[in-house]
Symmetry: C2
Subunit: 219 residues, 2 copies
Amino acid sequence: MSVAIENFVKAIYKNGKRDNNDTKPGNIAKELGISNAAATDMAKKLAVKDLLHYQKYQKLKLTEKGTKMALTVVRKHRLWESLLFKLFDMSLHDIHREAELLEHQTSDLLANKISEYLGNPKFDPHGDPIPNADGEITTTDTSITLSQTSEGKTYIISRLMSDDKEFFDFCAQHGLKYGNTVLVSKQFTKNKMTQISINNNTILLNEDFTSIIYVNETN
Amino acid sequence: MSVAIENFVKAIYKNGKRDNNDTKPGNIAKELGISNAAATDMAKKLAVKDLLHYQKYQKLKLTEKGTKMALTVVRKHRLWESLLFKLFDMSLHDIHREAELLEHQTSDLLANKISEYLGNPKFDPHGDPIPNADGEITTTDTSITLSQTSEGKTYIISRLMSDDKEFFDFCAQHGLKYGNTVLVSKQFTKNKMTQISINNNTILLNEDFTSIIYVNETN
DNA sequence: CAAAATATTTAAGCTTACTTAAAAATATTT
DNA sequence: AAATATTTTTAAGTAAGCTTAAATATTTTG
């Protein structure tokens, strides 16, 4: 299967996981940077290949086969991120960009070798779960977004769900990374902002960021 | 530049390095597994891009720009081979196959990170030289093929110039690998065969193999 | 050196993955 | 609920990278 198909299926999978859950062609097109027409076209072709269910004007829904393909690509992406993160001194954003290309040129054999080398990790450096060789995610995610946290409690960062360079630069600058501890000092509910303490610094985050930073309560 | 272009330029470079040095479209086509017509077509397009000189019915010759592109791809290929060889337990042939794909999806930044991680090696696991970041090969190769060696002398294997699985399987089985020592016990000049001793075993090799195994005399 | 064999080029055509523009359907707003 | 805005779809077209078939050169051979 081509890179275009793998990316298309992956985009549906990722959009389906999000809150909004909008997997209509237009949204996928936006995600991939292609025209709506191209997305509709591709959707029809992939329906024939039994990768997704297509009904005019409706959301695109992956078949089992399509879901498996998406998860296989996601697995390779996250394994590459994990490997590059371990071996090289590179920013999470740069690592993401490389993985975005390498994921399509990686045999199952190589993916398994990478996984084995890393000790079959369950999470990548963003905190995202790595599907196993059968395309299954076996871990259960109990984390919540920073925007949903309670004042006065401390949390451990579990995921940074983004591929935006500015966001990662910001995170790197302030120590916001997988595994680090933050104290939620104030929730500005009305203004949708969250004030946190990390490394003795106070940071005020708006919803753009607090909705993509996932955490788990400390116990 | 596309994968097709990178592979085309690389094929010319590699064919140009070989003894026969035949870089006419037909030979490149054979190397790449495409039709002669496709190779001629591509040659014309790449001439416009100043990657090679094209004259009807003549050999294709890379320009400086084309050579640099080829060497950049070769660098990435050999760095990937070196990395995969170091990290994973995989056959040289499998490693070659993965590198063949990864080489086209690797930024200069990542290539440099790999090189740095490996201690800026000058040779890959086949013994082939790794061009530096500027696309230059600074090492001088004084090695000769097994077919050119003298009876009774011992040599150290310096390169295994192939990407054929059967060849690598054979090499792996008999301890023919980069750095190992062999004694040339007999040259059957007329029949173009060479008898060697390695690990207390005697092997008779024909020219198919002795012309792609490179060695250096021990001193 | 002419004839036969081989290689290269030209021409026409195909598939994939896009594009833009216009038509048709759905969603949103008042 | 009608009018407006937005999306989706259809239609037509493009570029890259191939193919096969036929025409044209070049190379080899008798």
